[in-house]
Symmetry: C2
Subunit: 421 residues, 2 copies
């Protein structure tokens, strides 16, 4: 696999090993801590290599990956709070991984998932878990700014042409990312049964690609809400260039301020930022703005079981993010007379999307290093590879939920229309 080969040759570890005090030769306490760390992670097939080259492994399997811990301080931080510290230490180069980062992360995810049933491990990790940062109107603005307003050019380097920063749809795994993102937008439009002349409201529009696609390919009028200033500016300029300004309106505002009457409600990749406490409020907004025969679609990362987002990702990459279970997502709909018509789980489509992103990202690594710094470059590399692992191991899911009003009887008799050429 291309991305695996590339990762193996990145060689962050040798080139950027930090010149820090290493805290003396490892002793029996260090070895004990390393062993406990592996045990608490469900004994994955991983060896921990201490700063003098000594290897610690547990379990009966041959280690498939090696994690290099550069000094005692890093080991102590890992032991205290692996959930958050691994990412920070990896970004700083104080911890490294020999071989394919994704394979290493998949082994960790599998181990932790299997061990998650054990009470002792739960309590170990539970201590280090905190609620995500609150998504108040102001909190959301800060959370979103943190991730999305780091310069559009960074994202153009590894996203598709339509700047879709959400799971693509691969009806065949052989199609490329550009085709798969177009296929995703078409899949969403078909699920919404859009007809020319209808009106659509979009909650969280990223760089506005879906809104332009809907207007251009399905002849609808779209109003899209987003609180990321840079994304809205980009989206407006694109719509202008494509002559779609009259049919697509980008509003720099919170989804909680949506108003109007619409034939369709769509939200792709925003629910992760909403927070379960706000789900009934989101449902209320949908209930308020959807016409009697309106349809809706929510596309979101999710979980099989309720669990907080990986602590490091929530802290460093996506503040305030929380992927809900399907049960939790139902809190949007169940307080209202909204009827869920269709749920599709596209988990492996997100793994494949991320593989494409990681590939492109690695091809632009020099640019990232030059425009940000090594720590940033390593952090994003870890985030993309870790996200692949989360989807391939079943830690994360991707749900597309289609809904309508309970009283709407003008429904298609089957979903065959989604699969017509």
């Amino acid at each position: 696999m291309t991305s695996r080969e590339k990762t193996a040759t990145l060689g962050f570890s040798t080139r950027r090993a930090p010149a820090m005090a290493r805290g003396g030769r490892p002793g029996s306490v260090d070895r004990w801590l390393a062993g406990k760390l592996l045990e608490a992670s469900g004994d994955p097939p991983i060896a921990i290599v201490l700063w003098d080259g000594e290897e610690v492994a547990t379990g009966n399997v041959t280690p498939r990956s090696r994690m290099l811990v550069r000094n005692r301080g890093a080991l102590l931080r890992l032991f205290r709070n692996p959930n958050i510290e691994f990412g920070d230490l990896y970004s700083a180069g104080e911890v490294d991984v020999e071989g394919d980062l994704r394979v290493f992360l998949e082994a960790v995810y599998r181990g932790v998932n299997e061990a998650a049933e054990s009470a002792s491990l739960r309590s170990h990790f539970a201590r280090t878990l905190k609620r995500p940062r609150p998504n108040t109107l102001r909190g959301s603005r800060e959370n979103i700014h943190h991730h999305y307003d780091i310069g559009n050019e960074f994202y153009t380097r590894w996203l598709d042409r339509e700047m879709q920063y959400t799971c693509a749809y691969f009806p065949s795994p052989a199609i490329d990312l550009e085709e798969a993102q177009l296929a995703k937008m078409e899949h969403v439009c078909r699920k919404l049964r859009l007809r020319a002349g209808e009106t659509v409201v979009e909650a969280g529009c990223g760089w506005g690609g879906l809104a332009r696609y809907m207007a251009r390919e399905h002849g609808v009028k779209v109003r899209s809400y987003n609180i990321s200033h840079e994304q809205v500016a980009y989206a407006r300029q694109k719509a202008e260039e494509e002559g779609l300004s009259g049919r697509v309106e980008y509003v720099e505002d919170d989804y909680r301020n949506i108003s109007g009457d619409f034939d369709a409600f769509v939200s792709v990749g925003m629910l992760e930022h909403v927070g379960t406490d706000n789900y009934p409020q989101l449902g209320g907004i949908i209930d308020r703005v959807l016409k009697d025969r309106g349809r809706g679609l929510i596309h979101s990362i999710g979980r099989n079981k309720a669990r907080l987002m990986n602590g490091w990702i929530e802290k460093r990459i996506f503040p305030g993010a929380y992927p809900p279970t399907l049960g939790e997502a139902m809190r949007i709909f169940e307080p209202f007379d909204l009827s869920v018509l269709d749920v599709e789980n596209l988990r492996l489509h997100y793994a494949k999307t991320l593989e494409h992103w990681l590939d492109r990202y690695e091809n632009n690594l020099e640019w990232v290093r030059n425009n940000f710094d090594e720590r940033f470059a390593r952090a994003w590399h870890l985030y993309l590879a870790g996200s692949i692992a989360a989807f391939t191991t079943g830690s994360l899911q991707l749900f597309q939920i289609v809904f309508a009003r309970a009283t709407d009887n003008e429904l298609p008799w089957s979903r065959a229309h989604l699969y017509q050429p």
Copy 2:
């Protein structure tokens, strides 16, 4: 519409008006009670006709149906507990409906649904709601016996040839019931991705039609559990006649006693009888018997909002029944590493299925009267017409939920295979 015309000519009311004491001429208290009853039902476009012919109506709309209340006792019982008493009084002929029963019931459902948001009505009805009868091992046996062991011939009079007493699948609304039940079974098999030689366990098999279809058309081995003695006897005989005994085993036992290892788990129309308290236990059984690459499907009546089954249906027709919301149904999967892949809501397919059943039922009304009695005939007529109304007004849903283990990555890339000719 055929069924509407037929209903209108049934003429239960005139032929079977009860010769009871009528409690004297209606007075102002009776009129007040009738008005309050309509108000508490959300002011549907219905008039109540008292036993002297006097009409009471509320709201601003012209009544589209008339409910005849034959005496004061009936009015008092209706007022005290409409949820349960209407069905009993209708069955006994002490309350009747002029015109199409289904249209009347749809109006009532719509009124009650709309008014359900109002606190005063909620409290009025809440008083009359009770938990469904418990589904302990013994309770389930009694509950199931009540409904399913009233003689197979009764059901052969109005079900399809395969005796499918669950929602059919109408990829086109024009196909007939026989085709639609075959289409349902095929749809289920495709969702399960059955391959010849695989093993399937079925929880709740009715008269065994799906098990025989899977074995015959997809070459799998099936073990089906059911606690209805009459159904199991029928199913075994049919399998024998069709030469399928070697490949289909019917076990007269509770789903909680399922054991073995299977490639697929399927349950069509049993979850309604399980009770939410038992969902994690059901999930544990699935988790125990499903192989690593196993798939599962649960097909069940459901709700958009949590609400008890209509009291009369729960009491007289389906003891212990409770249709869950999708959120409640997730309690089966979320305690385990089971991943929901696909949910399809077939609400209008159940309305159409019931229309076919009602049509056939009405054609066999003389037979039902002769083999049971008038009260039974009216009760089942009400149950079938009321179920149509529950589905057409969105009070009930029909969910098909497909799932697999979280770690299974051999998933199809799209659902197009469900829609190939």
